[in-house]
């Protein structure tokens, strides 16, 4: 068929199975918007700021596993999208971001709304393209989807000058079913010899530990991981990005690890003799001080990206491959030799772990007169645990409390900006999730500082009828900043108090939503039940929480896993291991 450049863009999206594109129109993309107007297969969600578009597409991608799609204009449209692109890049989320560009003859002339989008986004994308010829448009868009979704996924930007989408010039279009690139061919399986070597280490382990990250979620390997853990009887911990990859309610799960991880997970990391890392990248918030990281362990690392291996921590057995396939192959080898597992040593190891678990490191004051943020998350869990439920988060204390106290039993249910730590992510990402799963319950846990960074998206929620439940843990401070200032800056709370907050109830109402203010622990459960009962309304719960509460346990940046701060009400001899 013969199509104009603008029609090619829309047709290519259809052929890639895109149902939603999140965007905001502007001069350079008007031809494309006109082509969108004349069809109904690709539905456009009008956001209120381009950052919201990228986060919404990102939330959609994290919840579904399918690529998120964004359409923005040139210049400020593109630069506003950058935060969301970088967020997706850090967490390996597949996005295809189409940006308008000034017409090719104007490129480089500092034309109106011109920026070097390819240059600006280069360090925070998996790849990007500038399409200078109409004839290259279709192939480039299909390549973009191929690159975004294969190997280690990530965002791909396609910058499209306005003249390339000229509605008056038509050229033949065909959907290339298969994309192949001589410079890009992701690995399809792990090396069998390396897998055998890894299994030998695991079978001989006396104090094994399995540490898994976001790669198990994005790589759809949760079922294989669960099988491996059940087959071996090993303890397992998840990173912030990996929560839900193994059922949190299972006994073999030790909770999250790292800076705000559990005592048992961090101590088990410190004392293990064999560490199996799967789809994780040894981030500094996880490892603490590298020199003291798993000091006695042989380390096995499975990852799709070779550059993740031995980047921060030297590993003994690297396995490059898609985690799903590698763990599947690993389970087979383990099953054959299951009898050789050192059950006796494993029994002793579990006794030691249970001793750590008994410390109950996340205990908090349940009789407080004010609402503790931990209690708020526990109540949220109580109410929503039996529902088809997704939780997105912003960044800060509330994010950590949610990660610690919400027990995710399934992957893709916990959606947060782990790598970049982008405040403002929570609400727009919840929009993407709710659109993908209109019948599911979607909540966004946030703080009064984070939520204001993308508050404008409340209007998008109204326009598109998205009944998201916002659980705002309002402590009046940038809580995590305040916590660090309390611990490390002598209590000098420099600019972390958020003065002049809006009346969130009134604010929600002015956007056409339901607002609620909750101040007493005794009211919380009933109020939340009422809120979650309003199936077709966005309800904004402004929950007043204790402003002095801190996130524990905590490992100070640059300390080892065994040097945790436990909450102050623990006796001093258990404060540090």
């Amino acid at each position: 068929m013969e199509l104009s450049g603008a029609e090619i863009v829309v047709q290519a999206l259809k052929d890639e199975g895109v149902d939603y594109v999140f965007g905001y129109p502007g001069g350079a993309v008007l031809h494309i918007y006109d082509a969108l107007f004349r069809q109904s297969d690709v539905k456009h969600i009008l956001v209120r700021h381009e950052q919201g578009a990228t986060h919404a597409a990102d939330g959609y991608a994290r919840a579904t596993g399918r690529p998120g799609c964004v359409l923005v204009t040139s210049g400020p449209g593109a630069t506003n999208a950058v935060t969301g692109i970088a967020t997706a890049h850090m967490d390996s989320i597949p996005l295809v971001v189409l940006t308008g560009q000034v017409p090719t003859p104007f490129i480089g002339s500092d034309a109106f709304q011109e920026v070097d989008t390819v240059g600006i986004t280069r360090p925070c994308v998996k790849h990007n393209f500038l399409v200078k010829r109409r004839e290259d448009l279709a192939a480039t868009i299909h390549k973009a989807f191929f690159i975004a979704t294969t190997g280690r996924p990530g965002p791909v930007v396609v910058d499209i000058p306005k003249d390339v989408t000229d509605p008056n010039i038509k050229i033949p279009y065909e959907h290339p079913r298969k994309v192949s690139m001589r410079s890009y061919s992701p690995v399809e399986k792990g090396h069998p010899g390396q897998i055998k070597k890894a299994v030998e280490l695991l079978l001989a382990a006396e104090r094994p530990m399995v540490y898994t990250g976001g790669g198990v979620v994005t790589g759809d390997a949760a079922a294989e991981l669960t099988e491996l853990i059940r087959a071996t009887g090993f303890p397992v911990t998840n990173t912030l990005m990996g929560l839900g990859a193994y059922p949190a309610t299972d006994r073999q799960f030790l909770g999250m690890l790292g800076m705000h991880g559990t005592y048992e997970a961090n101590m088990a990391m410190h004392e293990c003799d064999v560490l199996l890392a799967i789809g994780a990248r040894f981030d500094d918030r996880v490892t603490g001080k590298i020199a003291q990281f798993c000091p006695n362990a042989k380390i096995i690392h499975i990852d799709i990206d070779p550059s993740s291996i031995s980047k921060n921590v030297r590993v003994d057995v690297p396995i490059v491959g898609p985690v799903k396939r590698v763990v599947h192959d690993m389970v087979k080898v383990v099953q054959e030799h299951k009898g050789r597992l050192n059950r006796e040593a494993l029994g002793r190891w579990w006794e030691r772990i249970e001793g750590w678990r008994k410390i109950d490191c996340m205990r908090y004051d349940r009789h407080s007169d004010s609402i503790k943020p931990q209690f708020a998350v526990e109540t949220l869990y109580k109410i929503t645990r039996d529902q088809d439920f997704y939780l997105t988060s912003d960044v800060g204390q509330h994010q950590m409390f949610a990660a610690q106290f919400y027990k995710f039993d399934k992957p893709r249910r916990w959606i947060n900006s782990g790598g970049l730590g982008t405040m403002g992510f929570g609400l727009p990402s919840a929009m993407g999730v709710q659109l993908a799963y209109p019948d599911a319950t979607v909540a966004c846990v946030s703080g009064e500082a984070s939520i204001l960074m993308c508050i404008q998206e409340l209007a998008t929620c109204k326009q598109h009828g998205l009944p998201i439940k916002v659980v705002l843990l309002n402590n009046g401070y940038m809580g995590m900043v305040r916590q660090w200032q309390e611990f490390f800056y002598g209590g000098r709370y420099s600019h972390s108090y958020v003065d002049s907050l809006p009346d969130f109830v009134g604010l929600a109402q002015s956007f056409g939503h339901v607002g609620m203010r909750i101040e007493k622990p005794a009211e919380l459960e009933d109020a939340m039940r009422e809120a979650f009962g309003m199936k077709d309304r966005l309800v904004f719960m402004d929950v007043a929480v204790d402003p002095a509460e801190n996130v524990y346990p905590m490992i100070e940046a640059g300390k080892g896993h065994h040097e945790m701060y436990l909450p102050p009400h623990f006796s001093s001899d258990t404060e540090l291991a």
């Binding site: 390819v118 240059g119 280069r122 360090p123 998996k126 790849h127 500038l130 690159i147 690139m181 001589r182 410079s183 890009y184 990206d305 070779p306 550059s307 291996i309 031995s310 980047k311 030297r314």
Partner: protein, 163 residues
């Protein structure tokens, strides 16, 4: 340690900045970088000289391989290879100095490719040490201008870096 990395990269706009940007973003050293199209016009060949510990070099090659435009790369320092650099050097060549400069150029197997009353341009190839030695020998007083290509390198033996 010093490493020479040879890269075959898609000959596309912006490919060079992907490589350069990677080095600056991750704090790696670049000593020199040369690039030109190959006999296959769709491919460029880069020769990149860098220094770093074994771990850093391992990361550099992995990160380079991750760039979508890079088709193939090899660390030539891992095996026997030949390295050559081209230098063009403009020197003051007045009366008494002219004969001595000509003799020096001959000893270094260099060529004088431009002559005026007051200057020579000398063309010279070799490995970096040889070029350094020549520059040192001439001294600052005689040198007007030096331009060096940065090293090019190729592995010894019958095998080639091709796709």
């Amino acid at each position: 340690m010093r490493h020479i990395i040879s890269i075959l990269i898609e000959n596309e706009a912006g490919a060079l900045s992907r490589v350069a940007g990677l080095f600056s973003a991750r704090g790696y050293n670049i000593e020199s970088l040369t690039v030109a199209p190959t006999e296959d016009a769709s491919l460029s060949r880069m020769t990149l000289v860098t220094t770093g510990s074994e771990e850093v070099i391992e990361q550099i090659t992995k990160q380079l391989n991750k760039l979508i435009d890079i088709v193939k790369l090899v660390d030539l320092s891992e095996g026997p290879h030949i390295e050559r650099e081209l230098m063009l050097i403009k020197v003051r060549a007045e009366k008494s100095a002219r004969d001595e400069l000509k003799r020096l150029a001959d000893i270094f197997r260099a060529h004088i490719i431009d002559v005026t009353d007051a200057s020579y341009i000398i063309e010279m190839t070799g490995d970096g040490n040889k070029l350094d030695a020549f520059v040192r020998l001439l001294g600052e007083d005689l040198i007007v201008e030096v331009v060096r290509s940065g090293p090019l390198a190729i592995a010894r033996g019958p095998k080639g870096l091709t796709i």
